[in-house]
């Protein structure tokens, strides 16, 4: 993996990359959000202030899913009325991206996917709505109105300072899941499955006093 380096436009500290395709990153030194602009990196001027959080995942964690090795390179933090969750940006050894979501230590891994049928519009969403995907029905289990709480590390797109957004969480009856992210038009579609902490074989996780 190449590690292009650049200087933080805000504080001039070196920006180091785990992933050559990063479109956005956060300066580890001053926590400024920095986005790629042609060959330059431009400071957005927004400091990524992360909320207090208890996820055992952190940047740099390595693991495997379905036999493919990944590194955690970035993260988006969401909050909603009843709590919050993390979407950890994974980069696999072949350079492709995936997401590890962590909501109260319940984990799922998903990948961007093309929906087989048109996605429901945000206005017509309701719990129980079915979406056929690869021979199985994904059912809308929850509809969450969330807000962006923070960001860190390397991301495959610009993602900062967004307003409230709607997410639909879908699941099938054999452990598969999907998320529709209505923050963009057309909505983003991610498909994956629920995973256990143990099966990811994570290395470099956060330690907790007493554990």
């Amino acid at each position: 993996m190449t590690r292009p380096t650049a200087a933080c436009p805000n504080c001039n500290a070196p920006l180091t990359f785990r992933w050559s395709s990063a479109v956005q990153t956060t300066c580890a030194h001053c926590r400024t959000v920095v986005v790629r602009h042609d060959v330059d990196w431009r400071a957005i001027g927004e400091v990524s202030d992360l909320p207090v959080d208890s996820s055992p995942i952190q940047l740099g964690v390595e693991g495997r899913v379905d036999g493919r090795a990944f590194t955690v390179v970035g993260r988006i933090v969401y909050a909603y009325a009843e709590g919050g969750w993390n979407e950890w940006h994974l980069v696999f050894s072949d350079g492709t991206s995936g997401w590890l979501s962590d909501a109260q230590a319940e984990y799922a891994v998903s990948w961007p996917a093309a929906p087989a049928t048109p996605l429901p519009k945000a206005e017509s969403l309701r719990v129980g709505l079915r979406l056929a995907h690869q021979g199985r029905d994904l059912v809308v289990a929850t509809i969450t109105r969330a807000r962006y709480e923070g960001v860190e590390g390397e991301l495959p797109f610009e993602y900062w300072g967004r307003g409230p957004m709607v997410f639909a969480d879908l699941r099938n009856d054999v452990g598969g899941m999907a998320t529709i992210d209505y923050s963009e038009q057309p909505p983003l579609f991610f498909v994956g499955r629920f995973v256990t902490y143990d099966e990811l074989g994570l290395r470099g996780v956060r330690t907790f006093p007493g554990w």
């Binding site: 580890a28 109260q104 230590a105 319940e106 009856d173 054999v174 902490y197 907790f208």
Partner: protein, 434 residues
């Protein structure tokens, strides 16, 4: 390089009573009930809004203290919360206790206890499939779960930390589906459905997992997903019965093939009834003895009697007498044969022939002492064969072999009947959904 996030989550003081409130489940906690006064607090709100005033009319002491660390499924978990919930079934209140377990990597698990029966419960992130017949198909273990009970559960008492905003008075519709030792539970509110998977544990197993020195609550009754002590035993007993019965039948066939059926005596006689009373029949003596014959090997002896009885009866008292020891085996038989014609046509009754089987006769020389009686002159033939097969011991063996599988099956069925008595299918009486 690695982002610095605060790892310590401080406890705080209860704004209601001032007691120290611990936070063991880090920032995952959405509600915490003060262990001193029971006030339910929002740990994320800087002003610690009291979600609910202390509602502890009756204080319940958890059998497993909050803060206890146990090992379940190979991972350590802290007991961080406790709730007491009840259901109302036809006016009867049933209550059970639930413990919230936490591990920062594995997340949340639960322990439930009812009448000393325990379940280790993990939340299911996804929903299992509901089948047309109301059973639940679980993709991860291929089991089919049978509906046990649906009831409205109410939270009556809470203590410690919860990963959701718990309140005393929360009501959810709980449906349990069982495939012992497993339990699937669905909890439904108006806006959320969650599923969890439980595995039965005994109090002793839980106490060992938690390293507790105290005594677990007493176990009474049979729980929904309690594994039957007879699980699989009837099937095994019947399989063993089938194998042993096959052996018995094989032995019978072998015996039939090997039996000598050696004729040892054949004699023809004629019986004359005594002259009619009152004249005394001087010298009338119908009894006689046969020629001596040899039984070469110990075993069964068959005595076949063939007569020409016609509208008459005859009784035979027989004694098989050993010529050297004088010991005798006594048997008797009665034959009768009647025939005639009435409005329904020709009828017959009885049989002119009969067969007796002496189960064991030692080898040696014997004669047969015969004492006939009857009401008509009758010609009869006596045919003796040794080593003839008797089916009786084989039949007795089969009956004896049946005892265990029948016993085990009855016990297993009675255990299941007691289990299902507590279900909607059993308690309703009119609810015949299986």
């Amino acid at each position: 390089m690695v982002a610095v996030a605060p790892t310590r989550v401080a406890g705080f003081n209860c704004p209601n009573c001032g007691a120290a409130v611990e936070r063991r489940a880090l920032t995952h906690t959405r509600a915490v009930a003060c262990t001193s006064c029971g006030a339910v607090l929002d740990p994320d709100d800087p002003n610690l809004v009291i979600l609910q005033e202390a509602a502890m009319r009756e204080r319940i002491v958890p059998a497993i203290p909050l803060g206890t660390r146990g090992t379940f499924g190979g991972h350590p978990f802290d007991v961080v919360g406790f709730q007491y919930r009840t259901i109302d079934v036809d006016g009867a209140i049933y209550g059970w206790r639930e413990y919230v377990l936490f591990n920062p990597y594995q997340g949340f698990r639960y322990l439930s206890e009812y009448d000393g029966h325990w379940n280790f419960i993990r939340p299911l992130p996804y929903w299992p499939a509901e089948m047309k017949d109301g059973r639940i198909a679980a993709a991860w273990d291929g089991q089919s779960y049978r509906h046990f009970q649906t009831a409205l559960a109410t939270t009556r008492f809470v203590l410690g930390e919860f990963p959701w905003r718990v309140r005393v008075g929360d009501r959810v519709a709980v449906s349990d589906f069982v495939a012992p030792p497993f339990l699937l539970s669905r909890e439904r509110t108006s806006d959320e459905t969650t599923w969890s998977h439980g595995q039965y544990m005994t109090g002793a197993e839980v106490w060992k997992a938690c390293g507790l020195e105290t005594t677990p609550p007493l176990t009474t009754g049979i729980f929904a997903n309690q594994p039957s002590p007879f699980a699989g035993k009837p099937a095994a007993a019947w399989r063993r019965f089938a194998a042993l019965a096959a052996l018995v039948l094989l032995a019978l066939v072998g015996r039939q093939v090997a039996a000598a059926r050696e004729p040892v005596l054949e004699e023809r006689h004629v019986f004359s009834p005594p002259p009619p009373a009152p004249q005394p029949a001087a010298g009338y003596e119908p009894a006689f003895v046969t020629e001596a014959f040899t039984i070469r090997e110990g075993g069964t002896v068959e005595i076949a009697v063939e007569t020409n009885l016609n509208n008459a009866w005859m009784a035979l008292d027989l004694a098989l007498v050993n010529t050297s020891t004088g010991t005798a085996v006594n048997v008797d038989t009665e034959l009768e044969r009647y025939a005639g014609t009435d409005s329904d046509g020709v009828w017959t009754e009885g049989s002119p022939n009969g067969t007796l089987l002496v189960p064991w006769v030692a080898p040696g020389e014997y004669y047969l002492r015969v004492e006939p009686a009857g009401n008509a002159e009758t010609a009869f033939v006596l045919r003796l064969r040794r080593d003839v097969v008797s089916g009786l011991p084989y039949a007795l063996a089969l009956v004896a072999l049946l005892l265990w599988p029948v016993f085990v099956s009855v016990r297993a069925a009675s255990f299941e009947a007691r289990r299902w008595q507590e279900s909607d299918a059993g308690s309703g009486g009119d609810d015949d959904d299986d």
